[in-house]
C-alpha cells in the first residue's frame, strides 16, 4: 500500500478501495516499525485519526479535494496548533504552538492528514541532520549515513515510505540536498511563492517552504495547495499560481537548458558527474537544447551565504530569551545571567557558532567589510542568473558535490560541512526556484540528485521537466532494499 504514489492513493480513496482511516493506520504502523530511523520528533496519532475520520466523511459526501485523505508529515519548523513544535532545539523542547502556520492551515483545509512532525537540524542550520537536539536521523539507503539536512527527517520519512509526502524548508539547500541524498523529488519554490507565516525564522530573506515527494507529479499537487498570497507574510506574492498539474504533460521540445561551466568543475564526485551527463542526454533526447552558460560569481556563493544567513539568524534568534516561551534555565543569579545561561544551555553548538558569526559580521567596524560586501556579492550572483536566463529557460547541474556521507564524517569540521551547499545556496541568494530529482546511483548504491533551476516564479517549467524526465527514467521509483 505504501509503495503507491500520492495520486494512486487519491484514486484508491475515491474508489473506496480502502478508507483514509485504514491508510492512516497503515502509515502510523510503518512509522512505529521504523522508529530506528529517528525521523520523527512527534507522532500525532490522535490528530491524524481525527483528521482521517473527517476525510472519510468528505470522501463519502463526494466533497473531497485532490489531496483529501492523503497523509503527510510536517518539518518541525512549521507551527502546528496544539502540537509540540521544537525546530529541533532544546530551547523549544516544550513549545506547543498556539497557532497553525499558513502552510499547515492550507493543507489541513485540503483535507490532508498530519502523521507527525519531522526531525531536523536545529533551527534548520545544517546539512546532515546531526545538529538536532533530538539526535541524528539515519538515511534509509544506508543507516550509517546521513539523510542530508536540514529537512533530513522529512526526507527519511518519504524515502522509507512512512508517508507519501512531507513539507520541508530550504534556506541554502535544505530541501534539495536531502532530496538528493535520499533519492527524492524536492522543490524549493521562488522566494515569496509560499507563505512564511508560522515558519520559525532562520534567515528571513532566504527561507522558503517546499515539498519532498517521490515524484514531480506528487510534488506539483502539494505545491499547488501550499502556494498563493497570504496577507500575514509581508513578502508573500499576489501573482497567480499556475495550474502545476496541467503543465506537467507539456512536451519539452524547443526548451533550452543551460549548463553552468562552474557546476561541472573538479571536486564533483565522478559518479555524480557521469549521472548528470547521462541525465542531460535524456533531456536532449526529449528535445531540450543544451547550451553552455557561465555563472562567474557563483563561486562566491558559499562565503556570501555564510555572512548573510548567520547575520539574519543572529537577529532572528534574539527572540529566544527564556521569558515568553520555551526553555528557561533554573540556574541563574540575575536577569542578564538568566538570558545568557538560558541561551547557552538551550542552543546547540552549530546554532551558537552561527549566532557568533552573525553578531561579528554585524558588529561595529565589521558591518561594511562583511555584511555590506556580502549583499553586493548577492546582487552579482543574482545578476549572473538573470544574464544566464537570457540564453536558456532552465539551468541544470548536480544538486550536491557528493552523495550521502557517513554520520560523524564531517560533524567536527563546520567549513567542510558548509561546502555541501555549494550548488544550492546561490539559488536562495537569488530567490529562484530549484528542484532536485533522482538521477542515478553511485558505486555504493547511494542516490544522486539532478538540480534544475528556474526563472523567478517559474516553478512550472521545473515540475514539467522533472515530470517528463521521470516518464523516461525510473530512478525515482527505487525503494531502499529493506523497506519495501
Amino acid at each position: 500500500m505504501h509503495e503507491r504514489s500520492l495520486h494512486e492513493h487519491a484514486e484508491a480513496l475515491r474508489k473506496g478501495e480502502y478508507t483514509c482511516t485504514e491508510l492512516t493506520h497503515h502509515f502510523l504502523d510503518r512509522i512505529r516499525k521504523h522508529s530506528d530511523l529517528n525521523a520523527l520528533i512527534t507522532l500525532t496519532e490522535e490528530l491524524a485519526l481525527e483528521q482521517a475520520i473527517r476525510a472519510d466523511e468528505r470522501l463519502a459526501r463526494n466533497e473531497a479535494e485532490p489531496l483529501t485523505g492523503i497523509p503527510l508529515v510536517h518539518k518541525d519548523l512549521f507551527c502546528t496548533r496544539g502540537v509540540l513544535t521544537t525546530c529541533g532545539s532544546r530551547i523549544l523542547e516544550n513549545f506547543v504552538s498556539p497557532y497553525d502556520a499558513t502552510v499547515v492551515r492550507q493543507l489541513n483545509q485540503a483535507g490532508m492528514v498530519t502523521l507527525g512532525k519531522t526531525n531536523m537540524d536545529e533551527f534548520a542550520m545544517g546539512s546532515s541532520n546531526e545538529n538536532s537536539y533530538f539526535g541524528p536521523v539515519a538515511n534509509p539507503w544506508d543507516r550509517k549515513r546521513v539523510p542530508g539536512g536540514s529537512s533530513g527527517g522529512s526526507a527519511a520519512v518519504v524515502a522509507a515510505r512512512l508517508a507519501p509526502v512531507a513539507t520541508g524548508t530550504d534556506t541554502g539547500g535544505s530541501i534539495r540536498q536531502p532530496a538528493a541524498f535520499c533519492g527524492l523529488t524536492g522543490i524549493k519554490p521562488s522566494y515569496g511563492r509560499i507563505s512564511r507565516f508560522g515558519m520559525i525564522a532562520f534567515a528571513s530573506s532566504l527561507d522558503q517552504g517546499g515539498v519532498l515527494a517521490n515524484t514531480a507529479h506528487d510534488a506539483a499537487a502539494v505545491l499547488a495547495s501550499m502556494s498563493g498570497f497570504d496577507e500575514r507574510d509581508s513578502t508573500s506574492l499576489s501573482n497567480t499560481v499556475p495550474d502545476y498539474l496541467a503543465i506537467l504533460q507539456k512536451p519539452l521540445r524547443g526548451m533550452k537548458a543551460g549548463l553552468p561551466k562552474e557546476f561541472f568543475s573538479a571536486g564533483v564526485d565522478p559518479d555524480i558527474q557521469k549521472a548528470i551527463e547521462e541525465a542531460v542526454k535524456v533531456l536532449e533526447h526529449l528535445g531540450v537544447r543544451v547550451v553552455e552558460i557561465n555563472l562567474p560569481n557563483c563561486n562566491a556563493s558559499i562565503p556570501c551565504y555564510y555572512v548573510l544567513a548567520p547575520a539574519e539568524a543572529s537577529s532572528n534568534l534574539a527572540r529566544f530569551d527564556g521569558v515568553r516561551y520555551g526553555y528557561r534555565t533554573t540556574n541563574y543569579t540575575d536577569l542578564s545571567d538568566m538570558y545568557e545561561t538560558t541561551r547557552t544551555e538551550g542552543f546547540g553548538a552549530e546554532v551558537k557558532r552561527r549566532i557568533m558569526i552573525g553578531t561579528y559580521v554585524l558588529s561595529s567596524g565589521y558591518f561594511d567589510a562583511y555584511y555590506v560586501k556580502a549583499q553586493k556579492l548577492r546582487r552579482l550572483i543574482a545578476q549572473d542568473y538573470l544574464q544566464a536566463f537570457e540564453q536558456c529557460d532552465i539551468i541544470v547541474g548536480p544538486t550536491t558535490p557528493t552523495t550521502a556521507f557517513h554520520i560523524g564524517e564531517k560533524s567536527d569540521d563546520p567549513v567542510k560541512m558548509y561546502l555541501n551547499d555549494i550548488f544550492t545556496s546561490s539559488v536562495n541568494l537569488a530567490g529562484l526556484p530549484g528542484l532536485s530529482v533522482p538521477a542515478g546511483f553511485d558505486r555504493n548504491g547511494l542516490p544522486i540528485g539532478l538540480q534544475i533551476i528556474g526563472k523567478y516564479l517559474d516553478e512550472s517549467s521545473l515540475l514539467n521537466v522533472g515530470h517528463q524526465f521521470q516518464q523516461h527514467t525510473d530512478w525515482h521509483a527505487h525503494i531502499p532494499r529493506d523497506l519495501t
Binding site: P98, G267, R324, M356
Partner: protein, 122 residues
C-alpha cells in the same frame, strides 16, 4: 575578478582555503568574549578558545569574498525588488493574552515574570 586559474570552487577544503588567500586579522579570545556578550551567549575559557579557532577558520572561508571586485555594485537586501506592503490599520486579532501567557516559564498577575532588575529601597 576571479582568475581563470582560481581553485576556490573546488570541494577540497585545502583548495577552498589556500593559505595565501587568507590574509586577515585574527579574531582573538578577547574579541570572542565581546561577541559572546553582545549575543547573550556564555563563554567560559574552554569554549572561548574553541570559538576563536572555529570562527577564524570560518572567517577564512568568508574572506574569499574579497577576491571579487564589488566597488560599483548596489547592495541587495532581498530577492524581491519591491517596497514593503502595508495593510489597513484595523484590528484583526482577538485578545489571546491567556493563551500566550500560558506558554511562558513564569507569569504572575497577567504579566511575564523575570528576575528582579530594579533594586528596592532599603
Amino acid at each position: 575578478m576571479l582568475s581563470q586559474k582560481s581553485v576556490v570552487f573546488s570541494v577540497s577544503q585545502r583548495q577552498m582555503m589556500p593559505d595565501s588567500v587568507c590574509i586577515r586579522m585574527t579574531i582573538t579570545v578577547e574579541d570572542i568574549r565581546h561577541i559572546a556578550s553582545l549575543a547573550r551567549l556564555g563563554a567560559n575559557d574552554e569554549s572561548v578558545e574553541q570559538y576563536a579557532e572555529q570562527l577564524n577558520r570560518i572567517m577564512c572561508l568568508i574572506e574569499q569574498m574579497n577576491q571579487i571586485d564589488t566597488s560599483c555594485v548596489e547592495p541587495m537586501a532581498h530577492p524581491q525588488d519591491m517596497t514593503l506592503r502595508f495593510r489597513d490599520d484595523e484590528v484583526v486579532e482577538s485578545d489571546q493574552r491567556k493563551v500566550h501567557l500560558a506558554l511562558a516559564p513564569e507569569t504572575g498577575s497577567g504579566l511575564y515574570l523575570v528576575p528582579q532588575v530594579i533594586e528596592q529601597d532599603a
